[in-house]
Symmetry: C2
Subunit: 104 residues, 2 copies
């Protein structure tokens, strides 16, 4: 799916890490949401509330989920983070992503 | 208007200047489009095809239209760039913007 259709988007950006990580929030008619974001090179730690699907659209990064080894995505790939967990990222090149927040 | 409603958004980001300027394209039912973007500190030059409305949502920057003096926006503000022109920006802090492409 190259477009998110029939959605609303919050104009104001979400800005983290002094602008090195930014995203826009997209709201769907069924009440779910996604964020479309950009991460510049750097090391970051994030925490989840809901389960998250991190769909990497372009870029190169390493990610580490709690209790697991570091893994690498280059170009595109998907990983899932459980609810209420912390995960670490080492972003090597400008990375474009779509994060889905999953109620389950 | 804090949300853009009943729109489609192209998932893939537009990435310029090694990721220091990025945006997402939002498509409206009437065929018009806007981009929602982030600019990190730096100096940039852009060219227009259509007339553009640059709505600064947050940040601080100087802008210079062809044949005019430098002007400053801090916090929020709007400027217009005619079609088929070049304009210059000096971005001082992470800047969040909404660009509308105007057919006129």
């Amino acid at each position: 799916m190259t477009q998110l259709q029939n959605v609303s988007i919050i104009k104001k950006a979400n800005i983290y890490f002094d602008g090195k990580v930014t995203s826009r929030t997209v709201l769907f008619p069924d009440g779910t949401k996604k964020t479309l974001g950009i991460m510049l090179p750097g090391e970051y730690e994030f925490s989840t509330d809901l389960k998250e699907e991190m769909d990497i659209l372009a870029g190169k990064l390493d990610y580490k989920l709690t209790g697991q080894d570091w893994k690498t995505i280059e170009g595109s790939g998907v990983f899932y983070v459980p609810a209420n967990e912390t995960f670490q990222l080492k972003v090597h090149t400008t990375t474009d992503y779509c994060c889905s927040y999953l109620n389950e």
